[in-house]
C-alpha cells in the first residue's frame, strides 16, 4: 500500500522528477528536528472549491501570460512545467482574505502556500469522491485503503504521546451526527466523523466539563473493564461466524483503545482545563444550539484547536459538508450573498450557474478558510520546541471532489499553512501544475506523499489502488523538501 523507500535506489523510478527543477531526491531526511512535534490538520470542504476564488491576481496574471489567453479553468493552462510565484499576494484572492493581517491578527500570507493544478481524475468526480479524496484511491463501494490522516496518525513521531491518534469532526446536514463517507481506518473500514459539535466536545473534553463529569469519567473505567472481560470471554468460546467474530474483535479493540485513552486523559486534567473551549450550555445564547453550519464549523474548529493545544491529538480532520453532507446545507448568515437573498439548500445553490451563485459559494469557501486561519493564529501564538505550534503543524485546506459541484476532478485547489519545521514551503508562494492530461500534471496523491515525507514516513506511492492511474511517484518538490 504505502512503502518506505530508499531514495538512492528508487530516484530513477520517479517519473518526471527532473521536471521539478532540481528536487533533491536522494538521501532525504525528514526535516523536523528530533523531538519536534509534528501535526497535520486537514480541512475538507465538500462538493468542490472553485479555483478562481483562491487564485490571487499575480498568479492569475502569470498563468495567463503562459496561456496567452484568459484563464477560465485549468483547461486553459498553457504552461508545461510547474509555475512558481513567490511572494504571491494571496490575501487578495476572493476567498483568502482571512490570511491578511488585521487588527491584532498576524498576517498568514508569508506562512501559506497555494497549490493549483493538481488533478484527481483517478478518483472520479461528480458530487464527491467520498473516501477517495483522502485515500487517493477510487472509492466505489467503500474505502479502498486508509485515508491519509489514518496513515499520518500511525507515525510514531506524529502520534507522540497523545491519547487520540486522530480526531475526525465536522459539519454537515444529516439526520445522523456521523459521517461515514470521508475517512477510513483501512480498506472497507470507514471511520466516522462527528458532525455534532456537542458530541465532539463531550468526547474530547467531557472529562473536564464539570466536577461531576470527572467522576463519571472514572466510573466509565469500571464499565469498560467489565465489558472487556465480557467480550474476551465471549470470543474465547465463539465460533461459526467470521462476520460475527470480526464484530466482536472490533468491539474488543475499541474497548482497549478507550481504556488506554481514558487513563491518559485522566492524567491530563490540567492541560485540558487550561485549553478547554466553551462547552454546551456554558454561554447564553448557546452557540451549540445553533443550526447555522458556519457557527457549527466555528465550534468544531475551536474544539479541534483546543485538542491540539492540550495535546489530545496531533492529527485532525475538520470536514465542511464533505461526502453528501453539503446537500441540504443552508447558510442563513450568508443570506445577503444568495441571489435575491433567497436562502436555498446546498444542492440547489451549487446548481445555480451564474456569477451570483458563484459569489455565494466563494463566500462559503472564504468562511471555511477563515476558520483554518483562526486555528493557525492560535497555534502561532503558542510557543513550543522549534518555535511555535504553527511551525510544527501543517494545515491543509482542500475539497473532496475537485473544482465544482459536478466536477471533472481535474483541478483540486489546496491551501497549506505552517509546518515549516517539517519542511513545507509555506512561504507565501503559489505553485500551479500543468493541466490535467499534460504529462507533467501531478495528482493529489503527490501532495499526500509530501505530507508523509514531512511527517516522518517517506512515502512515494500513497494511494492508487489501481496503480496504472498514477502519473508519477514522489512528493512535490515545490511544496516540500
Amino acid at each position: 500500500m504505502f512503502t518506505r523507500r530508499n531514495f538512492l535506489t528508487t530516484a530513477g523510478l520517479l517519473t518526471g522528477a527532473g521536471l521539478f527543477g532540481g528536487a533533491a531526491l536522494t538521501g532525504r531526511p525528514t526535516r523536523a528536528a528530533d523531538g519536534d512535534p509534528r501535526r497535520i490538520v486537514i480541512f475538507l470542504e465538500g462538493n468542490g472549491i472553485r479555483p478562481e476564488c483562491v487564485r490571487d491576481p499575480l498568479t492569475l496574471e502569470t498563468l495567463e501570460g503562459y496561456a496567452g489567453k484568459p484563464i477560465e479553468s485549468n483547461r486553459d493552462y498553457g504552461h508545461d512545467d510547474p509555475v512558481l510565484v513567490s511572494a504571491a499576494p494571496l490575501a487578495e484572492a476572493r476567498s483568502l482574505a482571512a490570511l491578511a493581517a488585521k487588527d491584532d491578527d498576524i498576517s498568514l500570507v508569508e506562512r501559506a502556500c497555494l497549490v493549483l493544478g493538481l488533478s484527481g481524475t483517478y478518483l472520479g468526480g461528480g458530487h464527491s469522491t467520498d473516501f477517495g479524496a483522502l485515500s487517493a484511491s477510487q472509492a466505489a463501494g467503500g474505502p479502498a485503503g486508509p485515508t491519509i490522516e489514518t496513515v499520518l496518525s500511525a507515525i510514531p513521531e506524529v502520534r507522540g504521546n497523545t491519547p487520540f491518534d486522530a480526531i475526525r469532526i465536522g459539519v454537515g446536514a444529516a439526520t445522523t451526527p456521523l459521517n461515514y463517507s470521508s475517512c477510513a481506518f483501512d480498506a472497507g473500514k470507514p471511520a466516522p466523523l462527528l458532525l455534532s459539535p456537542a458530541a465532539s466536545f463531550a468526547s474530547l473534553f467531557g472529562s473536564v466539563a464539570s466536577g461531576e463529569a470527572g467522576e463519571e469519567f472514572e466510573s466509565r473505567k469500571q464499565l469498560l473493564e467489565f465489558a472487556l472481560e465480557d467480550v474476551m470471554r465471549e470470543l474465547k468460546g465463539f465460533g461459526g461466524s467470521k462476520r460475527g467474530r470480526d464484530k466482536l474483535e472490533t468491539y474488543e479493540a475499541s474497548l482497549l483503545t478507550m481504556l488506554a485513552r481514558n487513563d491518559q486523559i485522566l492524567g491530563m486534567k490540567g492541560a485540558l482545563q487550561a485549553n478547554k473551549p466553551l462547552g454546551p450550555g456554558e454561554s447564553d445564547p448557546d452557540p451549540y444550539a445553533s443550526g447555522d453550519p458556519l457557527e457549527q464549523l466555528r465550534l468544531q474548529a475551536d474544539i479541534a484547536t483546543a485538542s491540539l493545544l492540550s495535546g489530545l491529538t496531533n492529527v485532525a480532520v475538520v470536514s465542511f459538508g464533505a461526502g453528501s453532507y453539503y446537500w441540504s446545507l443552508e447558510y442563513p448568515s450568508l443570506s445577503d450573498f444568495y441571489p435575491s437573498k433567497q436562502v436555498i439548500g446546498g444542492h440547489d445553490l451549487r446548481h445555480g450557474e451564474s456569477p451570483a451563485f458563484y459569489e455565494t459559494l466563494h463566500e462559503v469557501t472564504s468562511r471555511g478558510i477563515g476558520e483554518m486561519a483562526r486555528m493557525a493564529r492560535a497555534l502561532a501564538a503558542r510557543p513550543e520546541q522549534g518555535g511555535t505550534m504553527l511551525d510544527n503543524t501543517l494545515l491543509l485546506y482542500m475539497s473532496d471532489n475537485g473544482e465544482k459541484h459536478h466536477s471533472n476532478a481535474e483541478e483540486w485547489a489546496m491551501l497549506m499553512l505552517g509546518g515549516n519545521n517539517m519542511g513545507f514551503k509555506t512561504d507565501g508562494r503559489s505553485v500551479t501544475y500543468p493541466k490535467s492530461g499534460h504529462e507533467n500534471n501531478r495528482q493529489t496523491s503527490n501532495l499526500f506523499n509530501s505530507l508523509l515525507h514531512g511527517a516522518g514516513l517517506p512515502t512515494d506511492d500513497f494511494g492508487h489502488s489501481n496503480p496504472v492511474t498514477r502519473i508519477a511517484e514522489g512528493p512535490l518538490a515545490e511544496v516540500w523538501s
Binding site: 472520479g124 477510487q138 481506518f185 478507550m258
Partner: protein, 702 residues
C-alpha cells in the same frame, strides 16, 4: 447540455455502452472499446471512467443488453452503496431450483430504535438520541454487514449507556415506569431493602438481564459476572437512597455486554446436507419479533405519563406470545409463526396504543388515523418509498406555483407547516402517508395494487385553525390544499379520510409526501429525473449507474423560466449522449409533471396545460411498455404488473430478512409470491412465507 465536445463524447460512448446505457442518435462509435479515456483531455491513464456495479439491471422488453446497466443524472447525492441485489436478473431470480438458501451466520448490532425500545424508552428522548445509527450506505436499516462499535461510536455510546437502567430505577408512581420491575413482587426487595439478600440480588440481576437487556435466557457465567459487578456497586453504596444510581450502574454494565448489544443469528444443532444450521428457538423468535416490531419480545410495557396508560404488554413485557413460543419451542411450527404475524403486523385500533412510543403526545396521536401497522412494517414502507425524510430535504420554494392554490390564502405557509409540523396538532405529510398505508395494510387485500391505486387519503383538518379561530391560522388555515382539498375539514378521523378524484390522485406515488421527498426546491427543477430514477431502481429493481465522470448534469440558467418538461426534453432528451442513459429514467418521470415539486396538482405549466404524457420504453416487461397519460395512469399500469409486484416482493425480502437477496433465495421468493397471490394479495401471508423459509431460518457457519 453542451458540456462535452463530439470527440469527447465519442471517446466516452464505448464506456457507456459497456455499462448498458442504450445509445441513440448518430454519435460515432468507432473508438477503441478497450480504452479507458479521459473525455476532457484524451489522456489514457490516470482518469476515472464512469463507475457502476458489476452487472446490469436484467432484461428489457425492448431487447436491449440484458446484462447492461442503465443511465443516470446521478444527481441524487446518494453515497455509494454496497453491491445491489438489483444486479440480479429478476426473471431468473424467481425460479425455485435446487440451489439452497445460504445466509451467513452473523451477529446483529442493535440499531438506535431497537436499543431505545429495549431500554424502555421512546422516540424523542435523550436515550433515543443514541449513536447506534444504521449505516447510511445500507439500502435498508436492517442490514447488518460491516456494523462495528469503533472507538468513535463507543465513545458516544458511553454518554448514553448510563441511562439504560433509568426505567428500572424510577419510582412506582413516576412517569416512565415499566411494569417489568414495579409489578414484579420479587423485585421489590432489591428496590427497597438497605441490604438485599443474596437471593434477592441474584433474582434482580437475572431479571434485568433477561427482561431488560438480552431478552433471552441468560447463561450462568453471564449472570455471575453481572452479579459480581452488582456486588461491587452495592458495597460502595452509602445508603438505600443511592439504589437508583446502583440500578443504573448495573444496567449500564449489562448494556455493555456483547449479549445485549448484539443479537445472535448463528444457528444451533447439527448442520443439514448443505452445511446449514437452523436458528435456535430464541434466535428465531427474536428475529421475527425484531423484523416485525423493531423491538425484542419482552420489550417493557411502559407508562410514559400517567394519563396515557401503559403501552402494550404486561409484567413480562410485550409480545408475550413470542416469549412463550420461544420457551416451549413451538416457534419452529410454521402455524405458530403465522399466528404471531397475523396478531402483530397491523390492524384497527381506535386507541392507537402503538403511538405511545412515538414523539409528542395524545393531542397529536388522536389526530392520526385509526389504523396501525407494526413498527417494522411502517419502517419498511418508509424506507422503501423513502418519504420519511421529507422535512430534511432542501426546502421547497413557491410551493403552490402552477397549482390552483398559488398565492391563495395561507397555502404557502400551511404547506410548510404540514412538512415541519411546528404549529398546531395536526400531523405531518409523512404521518398522513403512514396512515394511508396503514389502512391498506390493515385491510390486507391486494396490498401492492392498493398501494399504487388507492384514492383514500388521510388529509389534515383545518377546522379550528381559521383566521379568528386560532392565532396560528397563517400556518394552518389551508393545510389540506396540497391534496387539492378545498373548504374546511373537521377535526375527526372520518372527515380527514378523503376519497380524492380519480383524475387527481392514485396511490402512494401521487401522495404529496412521496412527491415532495423526491424533488428539489423549485417546480421546474429536474424533479422528474429524481422520481423516474426512484421508479427504475426501487419499483422495477433495476440499477442506475453512478454519475459518469465529465458529465456536468446541469440545466442551463437561461432556461429558468421554462417548464421542467421543456428543459429536460430540449437539453437532455434531445442530446443523444445524455438520452442514452436518461431514457431509462425520464419517461418514468414525465408522468409526474402533472404535479409540481411539492405535490400540488398543476392547473397550468408555464403557459401550457399540464402534461403528464409519456411513452414507456426499455421496460423490463412487455406489460409495462407503451404510452401513459399521467402518473395516475402509470400507477395503475404498475399495479397490474407482475414484474413490478415481484420487485415489491424483493424489497420486502430485503428489509425483513435484513440483507440483499441472492440467486440462492429463489425458492423463498417464489414462496413469498405464491403466498401473496394465493391469499389475494395479503402482505401478512407474504411475510409468513418469508419467516418460515430457509432464507430466514437457516444460517451457514463460516
Amino acid at each position: 447540455m453542451p458540456r462535452l465536445s463530439p470527440l469527447q463524447r465519442s471517446l466516452l460512448l464505448p464506456v457507456l455502452v459497456a455499462l448498458g446505457c442504450p445509445q441513440g442518435g448518430d454519435v460515432a462509435t468507432d473508438a477503441d472499446p478497450g480504452a479507458t479515456a479521459d473525455a476532457s483531455t484524451g489522456a489514457t491513464a490516470g482518469t476515472g471512467a464512469p463507475t457502476t456495479g458489476d452487472t446490469g439491471p436484467g432484461p428489457t422488453s425492448s431487447g436491449t443488453d440484458p446484462t447492461g446497466d442503465t443511465g443516470d443524472t446521478g444527481d441524487t447525492g446518494e453515497p455509494p452503496g454496497e453491491p445491489s441485489g438489483n444486479a440480479l436478473d429478476q426473471n431468473l431470480l424467481f425460479t425455485c431450483d435446487d440451489r439452497p438458501a445460504l445466509p451467513p451466520a452473523d451477529l446483529r448490532l442493535l440499531d438506535r430504535q431497537e436499543w431505545t425500545r429495549s431500554v424502555g424508552s421512546w422516540t424523542g428522548t435523550n436515550l433515543a438520541n443514541n449513536p447506534l445509527y444504521p449505516r447510511a450506505s445500507h439500502r435498508y436499516s436492517t442490514y447488518s454487514d460491516g456494523e462495528a462499535l469503533d472507538p468513535s461510536v463507543l465513545s458516544l455510546y458511553l454518554d448514553v449507556v448510563g441511562g439504560a437502567g433509568t426505567a428500572w430505577a424510577i419510582g412506582k408512581w413516576d412517569a416512565g415506569r415499566v411494569r417489568t420491575v414495579i409489578e414484579d413482587p420479587e423485585c421489590q426487595c432489591f428496590l427497597n431493602d438497605a441490604a438485599p439478600s443474596p437471593e434477592c440480588v441474584d433474582y434482580f440481576v437475572r431479571r434485568y438481564l433477561e427482561y431488560g437487556a438480552v431478552y433471552r435466557p441468560a447463561g450462568d457465567e453471564q449472570a455471575a459476572a453481572l452479579r459480581e459487578f452488582a456486588d461491587t456497586v452495592l458495597a460502595g453504596e452509602a445508603d438505600v437512597a443511592q439504589r437508583p444510581a446502583t440500578i443504573k450502574r448495573i444496567a449500564a454494565a449489562a448494556w455493555m455486554t456483547t449479549a445485549a448489544l448484539y443479537r445472535p443469528e448463528l444457528g444451533a444443532g447439527e448442520p443439514d446436507e448443505h452445511g446449514r444450521l437452523r436458528l435456535g428457538d430464541w434466535e428465531l423468535a427474536q428475529a421475527i419479533a425484531y423484523a416485525l416490531t423493531r423491538a425484542p419480545a419482552g420489550t417493557p410495557s411502559v407508562n410514559r405519563y400517567y394519563e396515557a396508560g401503559y403501552t402494550k404488554g404486561d409484567v413480562d413485557g410485550d409480545l408475550g406470545d413470542f416469549l412463550d413460543a420461544a420457551a416451549d419451542g413451538t416457534i419452529q411450527d410454521p402455524e405458530v409463526v403465522a399466528a404471531l404475524v397475523r396478531a402483530h403486523f397491523g390492524g384497527l385500533d381506535e386507541e392507537r396504543r402503538d403511538l405511545l412510543f412515538e414523539d409528542r403526545d395524545a393531542r397529536w396521536w388522536e389526530n392520526q388515523g385509526e389504523y396501525w401497522m407494526a413498527t417494522g412494517v411502517r419502517a419498511f414502507f418508509r424506507e422503501w418509498l423513502d418519504y420519511a425524510g421529507l422535512a430534511d430535504k432542501p426546502p421547497k420554494v413557491e410551493t403552490a406555483k402552477t397549482s390552483a392554490w398559488w398565492e391563495v390564502g395561507t397555502t404557502e405557509l400551511s404547506y410548510q407547516n404540514t412538512v415541519s409540523g411546528i404549529y398546531g396538532t395536526e400531523n405531518t405529510l409523512v404521518t398522513q402517508l403512514d396512515d394511508m398505508i396503514a389502512r391498506i395494510v390493515a385491510a390486507d387485500q391486494d396490498v401492492f395494487a392498493q398501494l399504487l391505486t388507492s384514492r383514500l387519503f388521510y388529509t389534515p383538518a383545518n377546522a379550528g385553525y381559521q383566521e379568528g379561530e386560532s392565532s396560528i391560522s397563517n400556518s394552518t388555515a389551508d393545510s389540506p390544499r396540497v391534496y387539492g382539498v378545498a373548504g374546511i375539514t373537521a377535526q375527526t378521523r372520518e372527515a380527514r379520510w378523503k376519497q380524492l378524484p380519480e383524475n387527481e390522485r392514485a396511490g402512494v406515488l401521487t401522495h404529496p409526501a412521496w412527491l415532495g421527498a423526491h424533488s428539489l426546491s423549485f417546480e421546474n427543477d429536474p424533479n422528474l429525473v429524481h422520481r423516474g430514477k426512484w421508479i427504475r431502481e426501487e419499483l422495477l429493481c433495476q440499477n442506475i449507474p453512478d454519475l459518469p465522470l465529465n458529465v456536468d448534469a446541469m440545466l442551463s440558467e437561461a432556461s429558468r423560466e421554462q417548464s421542467a418538461r421543456q428543459r429536460i426534453s430540449e437539453q437532455i432528451d434531445a442530446d443523444p449522449y445524455c438520452a442514452g442513459c436518461h431514457q431509462m429514467m425520464n419517461p418514468l418521470g414525465y408522468p409526474f409533471e402533472i404535479y409540481n415539486h411539492a405535490g400540488f396538482l398543476r392547473i397550468e405549466d408555464h403557459g401550457a396545460a399540464p402534461n403528464g404524457t409519456s411513452v414507456l420504453a426499455n421496460m423490463p416487461a412487455p406489460e409495462l411498455d407503451g404510452p401513459v397519460t399521467s402518473a395516475i395512469d402509470m400507477s395503475v399500469r404498475f399495479a397490474g404488473s407482475k414484474y413490478a409486484k415481484r420487485c415489491f416482493v424483493r424489497q420486502a425480502f430485503r428489509f425483513f430478512a435484513g440483507r440483499e437477496e441472492t440467486m440462492h433465495d429463489g425458492c423463498t421468493l417464489v414462496a413469498m409470491e405464491t403466498a401473496y397471490d394465493d391469499s389475494d394479495g395479503s402482505f401478512a401471508e407474504l411475510l409468513i412465507a418469508l419467516f418460515n423459509s430457509d432464507s430466514f431460518q437457516t444460517r451457514v457457519p463460516e
